[in-house]
Symmetry: C2
Subunit: 684 residues, 2 copies
Amino acid sequence: MNQRELDQLSINTIRFLAVDAVQKANSGHPGMPLDAAPMAYVLWTRYLKHNPADPQWIDRDRFVLSAGHGSALLYALLHLTGYEEMTLEQLERFRQWQSLTPGHPESHMAGCVEASTGPLGQGIGNAVGMAIAEAHLAARYNRPGHELFDHHTYALAGDGDMMEGVQAEAASLAGHLRLGKLIILYDSNRVTLSGTTSLAFTEDVAARYRAYGWHVQRIDDGNDLAAISRALQAARETKDQPSLIVVQTVIGFGSPDKAGTFDAHGSPLGVDEVKKTKANLGWPEEPTFLIPEPALRHLRSAIERGNTAEDGWKRRFAEYAKQFPELAREIERRFRRELPASWASNLPEFPADAKGMATRKASEVVLQALARTVPELVGGSGDLDPSTYTWLKEDGDFESPLRPREGVQGTVGGGWGYAGRNIHFGVREHAMGAAVNGLVYHGGFIPFGATFLVFSDYMRAAIRLSAIAQLHGIWVFTHDSIAVGEDGPTHEAVEQVLALRAIPGMVVLRPGDANETRCAWQVAIERKTGPTALIFTRQHVPTLDRRVYAPADGLRRGAYVLNPEQTQPELILIGTGSEVSLIAGAERVLRERGMRVRLVSMPSWELFANEAAEYRQSVLPAEVTARLAVEAGRSIGWERWVGPTGDILSVDRFGASAPGDVVMKEYGFSVDNVVARALALLAW
Amino acid sequence: MNQRELDQLSINTIRFLAVDAVQKANSGHPGMPLDAAPMAYVLWTRYLKHNPADPQWIDRDRFVLSAGHGSALLYALLHLTGYEEMTLEQLERFRQWQSLTPGHPESHMAGCVEASTGPLGQGIGNAVGMAIAEAHLAARYNRPGHELFDHHTYALAGDGDMMEGVQAEAASLAGHLRLGKLIILYDSNRVTLSGTTSLAFTEDVAARYRAYGWHVQRIDDGNDLAAISRALQAARETKDQPSLIVVQTVIGFGSPDKAGTFDAHGSPLGVDEVKKTKANLGWPEEPTFLIPEPALRHLRSAIERGNTAEDGWKRRFAEYAKQFPELAREIERRFRRELPASWASNLPEFPADAKGMATRKASEVVLQALARTVPELVGGSGDLDPSTYTWLKEDGDFESPLRPREGVQGTVGGGWGYAGRNIHFGVREHAMGAAVNGLVYHGGFIPFGATFLVFSDYMRAAIRLSAIAQLHGIWVFTHDSIAVGEDGPTHEAVEQVLALRAIPGMVVLRPGDANETRCAWQVAIERKTGPTALIFTRQHVPTLDRRVYAPADGLRRGAYVLNPEQTQPELILIGTGSEVSLIAGAERVLRERGMRVRLVSMPSWELFANEAAEYRQSVLPAEVTARLAVEAGRSIGWERWVGPTGDILSVDRFGASAPGDVVMKEYGFSVDNVVARALALLAW
């Protein structure tokens, strides 16, 4: 068998593993694997640096299947190249209960899957994040003669990806950052779920990517292996621009009746058409899931190549570790996902202060301290650093060393190149979300992304995926309520805290003062099993006197009693965030009237719900039924905590444009009103 | 005073009204009004067809301030050109409680504001929707010699707009649709909130828009009125492409110390700098809010021009009405927002059917019937027609008559040009949302946008704005739960119903069978005060036998008793959507065991919450405390309806990839499990 025959045999093996998997599941997308198998084959056999024997090798190339509906293609590649967990049985159990081969790739199910994709466009953003990760690690750790970090990020995208806004944002950002090691193969089969792209999508994608500053190539025939290989080579040689390779393909290639049609996109070909397609491409009808030995041997050589490559890297790493032992330990630590021993040693304690400070401001102070001890803490905002206060002052801007910095205002962090830790995402919240996820997927980072709370809506799809994939990323949302004031309802969060709480696996923390803010950051840094959303105020809130009130680290349990000395409460006031000081003020008034009021700060429903029943009962005793929750957000869900006879002071309409204190007062967020509502409860 | 002097006087009047408003509020964005006043002035005085005496004139040009943070510019223009409600006092009360001049424009506050903008990029999408509206109305109603609909849509956008994904999606769509009457002025001042665009945004926007198929022009000097005028003229003469005019400006123009810097973007200039700026541009320091008489007279001539233009149009409309009385009545009716008398006359009744049908399928049947009687019902999906079943079969595709339809698959609606009512939005959920909002803003439409429920996350910012602006649009979300099955957690809605319920002013309807689906559409069509979200299943659900169960129009009240003959219930089962048939099945089992079970279908929390307490008590009697809610979504908020001793069968984690019935069963959604949970409640 000559190379050409072996190539074709291998490609058809990939194709029909995918087709058989879809057909057996009677569900899935056969069209893309049929057309994209050649480009995937060329990439995986000639360029992709990976080691199936060690899916976690730090310096492997990353491959993101952005067109996640083509998952069967990915699973076939993983099985054929020798990833142990991706057995043939898993392929046969495609899309079945608890298989490692769900309908769309899920990285937390199978360690060899680099990213959870499927919602279109996200994979492009993930890939941009991974390329940022590689560039940063290389700039920070590589030394002359020691190119420890030197890998590419590849993504395979489809027409649907290319229509999504998150993709557009991410591509614009990647072009700006000149991420030369990012290479996207665009499988342009011109068919989507509902028809041909001529229905809705006739832009010139290549020209658009050129406008972003990308290196762009076109291949007219998706089966032209030599052309694909040349293009990949040229893309790899282009060091100063990300690369897009537009590959014209025919969806469902090989299917006599369905190739080139949208019937091949999202449904199994059908038993008869599978037969015809196999016949057409010279493939035996039976058995299904056929893997010819020469193809397997050829594709499994990835293990040997991978072991060789990784062994070489390990030797280089050992050399590096001799010369730079601290750096080497730091790298290993980061990828083991362990925090530095003394990471929390210098966190600030904030003194009691009646005027206090905005929690976004307290967050800034905490963040600076964390940045000094936790080098994997890297992130940025959606063009809002001067407002979210998330700029790491001692760590420079992440930027292309090739891009002149003339006329830059608004930051003083120039000259760091890719070693900077502040990523300027631009007004691109959604791409920020997907890129932050990409940084986690890559490994070696605890990344954060920041914007105003109300604009969490712009990036919600990415936030959701961070929760599905159980990613240790941190979402920082400031300007958290109607107290934003003059900017008005379009900029005032009302339902966003609830909407974030609604996402399974998310921990939402709305700290009540500066010291709770410190503890909230600690939780977010420590919590490895999923994302944390930190919700901060724009406006000042008093820093509670912790000599009077309980220590702020009660936050770790989600809710805690601020005044435990009051052991016989007749009323419980529950507050979160800026409303904690409000209930504290009300308690003082009520106490003067002789009432026994318990104060509960409840920064996180999720953490509190995870506590044992005894603890929950100790904070919210069932026998105290007069309860008032105060939160400048929607009331939905608070019934769980205040019970049937409780009351909720909330915001169940949109905000308004006026000075923040006016809006808060008009909406009932005043000590007087809290007192009045509390008294009404006791009368009840 | 010569024209040049009058121009400058007028422009500076606009500038300093805005600057004084910001300074008085001590909050806002002075930089953009200073730099964009010249282009706005040229547009508003030489091209914009509008009548300040009648802000609702149907054939006026639409002007969208996409860069909504420059609202003071818009308010100044509206006041100066003579919109009655936009008094000088309103400008003086900029950003104050209950003024018509909130921080960002709000169309429901002031009728002369065309769109609620501020969240960046949305205005571009709104403008695309308005241009679609004009093109459709022209195609549908204009007749040779009767150009009733012949107006432009203008938008003024900034750098922030140009970074947002929603903008990219909308621009790609507009280019595809060749919306020649859409003209965007891009105020390229190269400064955003956090600094200069060189920090994060260096793409070639002009080239990108050309790649979308737009006509693109550049103006190097934002103060060059002649160049601006020529460009607008050329844009208007370009009939087959939308136009982008890139205008290079200097933010905060005229401010000696802040022009060209990001200090001029989002904060008042300050008292001293206002003085210096006024001196620099030859403007008196006092009084503030100065409006020189010649400028006012000049700008107020808009009223006379507007009256003349509208009078001419009214005469033409009268002529038209003579020749085409039915069409004229239809136009008037649509813009009065009245439904046709017999709009609901031919809606289907679905017979009882144990196998039943997916509610998305029932929706399709209802939608076809509605399309016949409600011509203003126009919409489409995000590339999902074959799955959302939202294609209007008799009404053709909305498409450019100039774009060849070769190779189109997936639809049979060709040849309608802009008269088609099915808009192929492409995989652009966010732009779909903003464009649907634009259709409502334009007037004459009840538009809908459809996608999978899980992808409501992609368009959430637009959905929120539809609620803020109280827009009568309809969001159609199918594939509503883990029952989606094989596509897995990335495609399975869990928290989305709750997240939609969280949006104030939104009515969320999750009908339980085909007949409830009909009623849900009726509510959505009738409900003029805000948006409605319709939530449909992918999978079959039984069509309940309404001879046995109560009529489906109980849906209108949000929740209703399905089996009212059971007057002494010991247990209440509450279900929504696909879970209604589940509780009905459980009730049969429990009845056989001698238990008295009430069944409540609860398609909408919001409608039910709006009912009188007596009705709510009649459905959910306080004395029946054994209650079980069953919904394949998050439990949060259900406590309100089941009370402290109730139970909730819900989905509080992400879904899974497997056949839908398997996933539902594994997650506990079976008659057996509902029965078991019910029995446990009664034991309790």
